[in-house]
Amino acid sequence: MFPTMFFVSVVVFFLMQMIPGDPVELKMLGDGSGDFSPEQLTLERERYGLNDHPVIQFTNWMFGVVQLDFGVSILTDRRVSEDIAIALPLSFQIAIMSTLLATLLAIPLGTLAALRQDTWVDYLIRIFSIAGIATPGFFLGIMMIIGILVITNSQWAPPFDYKPIWVDPWYNLSMLIWPALATGYRYSAVAMRMTRSTVLEVLREDYIRTARAKGLVEKIIINRHALTNAMLPVITVIGIEFAFLIGGLVVTEQVFNLAGIGNLFVTAVELKDYMVVQALVLIVAFVFVFTNFFIDILYAWLDPRIRYA
């Protein structure tokens, strides 16, 4: 886990160095209504350690990270951890809601499609899932907002400022349900197709034929023998999608005005806010690595043949 995160940090840090533009100038210029002397800008660069050699900058940053100090954002002068503390719960909530939605849709529908292979039920579910894969989440999001405005005759729209679920549950859910639906639909479509094909494959296995031959009830065959074994690749897909949602919802976040990790990432890259980019890279890498680790544990639980030393 740690070598992966370190490697990603090194690569991203030096890639950021290659982007043209000076973060202090980008920050100070604003709309162009100020006029700073080169001496003032040099002093400001000094304050953030940007005049140091990149290797020294990276070493200093790494030293801070080891002490769980991600530094100060060049753009906002706040602790990076404060900015992340606002964005991360939001991104996590959407990822969890989308995952729940996707799982609740994908597994029953995918299984149903497999069991009713080549019937109208199967065709309908396949059309539904292909449409989900083909429709980008942000497009669906825009359509949702327009649709809501049309249906309510412009009398209602989702809230556009995030409040945590523990502060105002109704407000929170009436804002986040829409992006969760928009992303969850595409997410469920991918998982649905995976469920269908793996269930179909498992249903053709010898042990399923044996179970049927010995007269086991179909419900038990499907739930205990087919689905459990078909779940391994589905879980992998769900896990990867979950990790992706933490940092990858850039456009959907913009459509619904969500100050999540994706938006924070893009702004930080645009303005060359190294400290924030580096911290986010670490977090996203951690989420990916941890999710994979969690999936591996689930594998072992679902399939007793798998045991890790």
């Binding site: 210029l29 002068d77 995030y162």
Partner: protein, 542 residues
């Protein structure tokens, strides 16, 4: 008969007296209460310190929490007059080198402490004479200030090295918040991340990049103000979001400006629900050639680029699609010191005979040895309004004099990197050839307007040298006579046009669409102004 006439006369007098005593309907109409939700079209404020920042992304969320010493009169459209805010009154000496401001008594900070001239002094020292390591975005504007003193607890005196008409307008910059001297003494950077002022609203919550929330400050020094119970500003960089928020009534306003199509869509979606206010915007969209690159080192080629633009036609066409409209020079159009329309039309490239202009442009290109079909790239910013739209228009205008131009849109970081390239590297291959450029100012003042165009300005992205422009700028800066200053400004405009170091396309046009329930707010030519929201009130019964 006499009694009847007498009775009528008394009755008429009584009615007239009654009418005279009656408050005006406007004064009577303001209602108290309600919370104004408004959209801030930005990803978030950089820091919260107005002294250091230059963006509306800081002004829009923070202005309601602060007071200024003096301000552009928020009650009058056009931003042409100044009034005191914390300053009750001010006087100017006969040599126009000493300004004495009398400060209101009984002003409180949000922490309950008294605001005195000591606080004003600490704030102004931070702006004009910032200590080492502390940034002030407007330090250069106050180069004329010699000393700032406080003879008593409610008086602050500015002594200038030389008289300058720009001084008082620079004082009214909406970024010049008055901070607490005690807070600054403890931590000079406190205001970068915290808010504590004397404004009409007191901070309740600030979630960076999400929302700012304030409640009425009951000890605010202006009696009866503010009218509203509170404000909520929501950050939202995307147009689809803030338009949907306005349409659904989730927000009542967005104070930057909307493009024409969004205005039309809103009015169509909810007829009668909105009020539209518009004004020429104190932002000029310019084009700057790189005079270090051939053939743009030749003044004839630069002049040809300006001559090819049909500014009057562009105004008619582009104003339907983009946030630009007004044809103007370097001084804000319509300002008493700006040239008249007729005078402007005598400038090269501003005449209405487009055919003749373009023939001359082609002649100049021929004389400079630039062949038909000459190719170059227009450096632009990846922002639709108005940059890319005007860029596309300019490309077409130049096509009509035989130039083949490709527009290259860059993300903000790369765009700034291109413009801020040092003079020594302007000849390198990667340097821009011709770029979109702009000049946005917070207050309407010609000296401030033209400060961008002097060669020594940090915003001289063409990196040109021109002693004549420097001299003219300094002369008008020190010229107290109105007519003489106007003449100097015209000379400045002519010199800039003749050399075509940089030239205007069109000035921006600001249109604000707000909910009809929001009252008491007037549009100004600047999106930085009138954000204190002290006089805004909500008519929620409507």
């Amino acid at each position: 008969m006499l009694i009847r006439q007498l009775f009528t006369a008394v009755l008429v007098s009584l009615v007239a007296f009654g009418i005279a005593l009656m408050p005006t309907s406007d004064a009577n109409a303001q209602k108290r209460g309600g919370i104004l939700t408004y959209m801030i079209p930005s990803k978030g404020a950089a820091s919260l310190d107005g002294h250091k920042e230059t963006s509306y992304a800081t002004i829009h969320p923070t202005a309601p929490f602060y007071s200024l010493l003096i301000q552009v009169d928020p009650s009058k459209p056009g931003a042409k007059e100044l009034v005191g805010d914390l300053a009750k009154s001010w006087t100017v000496s006969s040599d126009k080198k000493t300004y004495v401001f009398k400060i209101h008594k009984g002003v409180k900070f949000h922490d309950g402490s008294d605001m005195t001239s000591r606080d004003a002094l600490a704030s102004w020292n931070k702006i004009v004479f910032p200590p080492q390591g502390i940034l002030s975005a407007r330090k250069a504007m106050f180069s004329m200030v010699d000393t700032i003193t406080t003879p008593d607890s409610h008086t602050i005196v500015f002594k200038l090295k030389f008289a300058s008409p720009a001084f008082i307008w620079a004082m009214a910059m909406p970024f010049n918040y008055i901070y607490s001297a005690d807070v600054l003494a403890k931590n000079m950077r406190y205001y970068e991340t915290k808010i504590m002022g004397t404004g009409a609203f007191k901070l309740v919550e600030y979630t960076p990049k999400v929302r700012i929330r304030g409640e009425r400050f009951d000890q605010y020094f202006k009696p009866g103000r503010p009218y509203m119970d509170g404000i909520i500003g929501i950050f939202s960089p995307k147009q689809n979001v803030y338009v949907a928020a306005l349409e659904s009534g989730r927000a009542y306003s967005m104070f930057r400006g909307l493009p024409p199509q969004a205005v039309k869509d809103l009015l169509k979606a909810r007829p009668g629900e909105f009020v539209v206010q518009s004004s020429t915007w104190n932002c000029a969209l310019n084009i700057t050639p790189n005079s270090y690159k051939k053939p743009f080192d030749n003044v004839k080629v630069r002049r040809a680029l300006s001559l090819a633009l049909d500014r009057w036609g562009g105004s008619r066409y582009l104003s339907k699609r983009a946030i630009v409209k007004t044809v103007g020079g370097v001084v804000f159009p319509g300002h008493p010191l700006a040239p008249s329309r007729r005078q402007l039309q005598t400038l090269e490239g501003y005449g209405t005979n487009v055919k003749k202009n373009r023939e001359k442009a082609m002649q100049l290109l021929k004389e400079a040895g630039v062949p038909r079909g000459f190719k170059f790239t227009l450096n632009n910013r990846t922002t639709d309004q108005p940059y890319k739209i005007v860029g596309i228009w300019a490309v077409d205008q130049w096509r009509q004099i035989g130039l083949e131009v490709k527009q290259k849109v860059l993300p903000t970081s790369k765009f700034w990197a291109a413009l801020r390239r040092p003079k020594s590297r302007m000849t390198e291959k990667g340097a821009f050839t011709v770029s979109i450029d702009f000049n946005c100012q917070a207050v309407v003042n010609p000296t401030v307007d033209i400060s961008k165009y002097i060669p020594s300005s940090g915003a001289n992205y063409g990196k040109y040298d021109d002693d004549v422009l420097e001299r003219l700028y300094n002369e008008q800066l020190r010229e107290p006579d109105f007519d003489k200053q106007k003449a100097l400004l015209w000379d400045f405009q002519k010199r800039l046009t003749d050399q075509a170091w940089t030239f205007s396309t069109l000035w921006w046009h600001r249109t604000i669409v707000h909910n009809r329930r929001m009252k008491g707010w007037n549009i100004t030519p600047s999106h930085y102004l009138n954000m204190g929201l002290v006089d805004v009130w909500l008519d929620l019964d409507k």
